[in-house]
Each structure stands twice: as C-alpha cells, then as structure tokens.
Symmetry: C2
Subunit: 148 residues, 2 copies
C-alpha cells in the first residue's frame, strides 16, 4: 500500500534494522566525501585521535540512517523528498563493526498545500549496545490522495 | 598552518569550488543510501517526477558539500568533528551536470571546555546558476592551542 499524507498518524513509532558498518565502507565513504584523517587513516587515528580509532563520517551515519528509513517506510510512501532537517546531532561515534538500527517517531503533520503536506518525524539511530548514536528531525513532503 | 579555535574569526566568509555532479555518482550514491525512485530511476523520474528528471539525494548534496568544506578549510583545522547541524535545508534540486560551490560564514564561537570550543558556521551551496541549493549551520568542535 502506498502511504499518503492522510495515512500518516502522529505518534506512530516504527523500528527497523540492521545495517552492518564495515571498515571498507567507512574508509571509502570518507575518502570520497569527508577525507579528514580521523575518518580515513586508521593508524593515525589509533595513535592520535580522542576516539581511539577511525570513526565513520557523520554524513555516512546520516546516509546509512537514510537507507534504513527508505527500507522501512519511504519506499512505500508517496513523498517527493524532504525540505530539510532540524536538530541533527551526532551523539556517539560510529565505528567499523557496529550494527545500526533506527526508530522513527511521527511528531507532527503540517498541511502545507492543497496537493501535499509536511510530516515532521524524529529519527534516532542506535548501535548494537543500544546507544543512540545519531538523531534528527526530518521534514518530509507527503502527497495527498487525489481522490479525496 | 593549523587553525585552532583561537584562530577562527567570527564574520569570516570563505568560498570554495567546484564539484561536478555526475549522473553516475548521483545514481550510485542513491542506490546505496537513498534508493527512492526519483533518485535512482531516470526513466520514471523523467515521466512522473515533479522535478522532471532524476535529482541527487539530499544526503548526497550534503556529502558533496562536506567534501568542499574539508578541501577548503577542515583539512587544515584542529577539529575533532562536529556535534551536529541545525537548519539543514534542501532549497533547489541538484541534478546531474550541475557544478557546485560553497560559501562558509563563521557565525559564532562558543567556549565550551578548557581544551576545545564550538564554531558555528553557515554553509551555503550554490549551483552554476548561482542558485542556493543547500544550506546548513554546522557546530564544529575546534581544539584550543595547548601553548596558550
């Protein structure tokens, strides 16, 4: 079933996972998009970083979270993308070997236009130790049912 | 020179570019992290999407912006990453063939701890038509000079 604006209910919580964070992917994402040494250089990171080793780029964590969001709900949703994100926070470093899962809670619906509305939802990403590693509030544009 | 917290000046604006957005990269990023059809399926996007064609995942735009930020300033900065981002906005679709550049403005410095401080900066990403396509306020942790 395709989920339209009318079908979304405030307060709904959905959980989804897992995403296995590999060392190879951590390094390749960072080399392409975030080549800071504490993301790309395992040897230097082990010696000099306050994190004690290489950690995933925060944008990689956001991207892995998005993958889980698409798998769990956006693939079946009548959306045309998002306007933006508020209060994006990197709470705990994500490391190679971690396994991530998400929880998504619908916070608010804002009727924006005749043909679409905004759904505000908080997504939290957790690691295998149930630590929240990432959090954000997304503002996603959902289409309305044209037959209503 | 390595840039520490003390070296950052509120009001400084830095510009950097360019990043060429290829169709191949738009599709491969989206297939991995944001497999929604308006990012991954050029044929369907050309026919059905309100954008008239495939557009880059917003997280890809964020990642390309990060690449430009690292090249222009973070590679030489004494940072240990960012706490998060506020007011992240996708303003205009980014398309294959676009060329992106950034402007970064230091908004505020917050002395957080004896060994580090927070630098709040607004980053705007523009396309080749000088349209702002993306905007965010980053909260980056800069180390202080230990000899002061």
């Amino acid at each position: 079933m395709t989920v339209y604006y009318e079908d979304v209910e405030v307060g709904t919580v959905e959980a989804h996972g897992d995403y296995e964070v590999t060392r190879e992917e951590v390094l390749s994402f960072a080399q392409q998009y975030d080549p800071q040494w504490f993301h790309t250089d395992p040897d230097r990171a082990a010696e000099e970083s306050p994190y004690g080793g290489v950690i995933a780029s925060g944008w990689h964590t956001a991207a892995m979270t998005m993958r889980l969001l698409v798998e769990s709900q956006l693939a079946d949703a009548a959306t045309v993308g998002a306007k933006g994100v508020d209060e994006l926070r990197w709470l705990v470093p994500v490391r190679p070997g971690d396994t991530l899962r998400i929880e998504n809670e619908v916070l608010e619906k804002v009727p924006e236009r005749p043909e679409r509305g905004l759904v505000r939802a908080r997504t939290r990403t957790y690691n295998q130790d149930d630590e929240a590693v990432f959090s954000m509030i997304g503002n996603v544009m959902y289409l309305r049912r044209s037959d209503e």
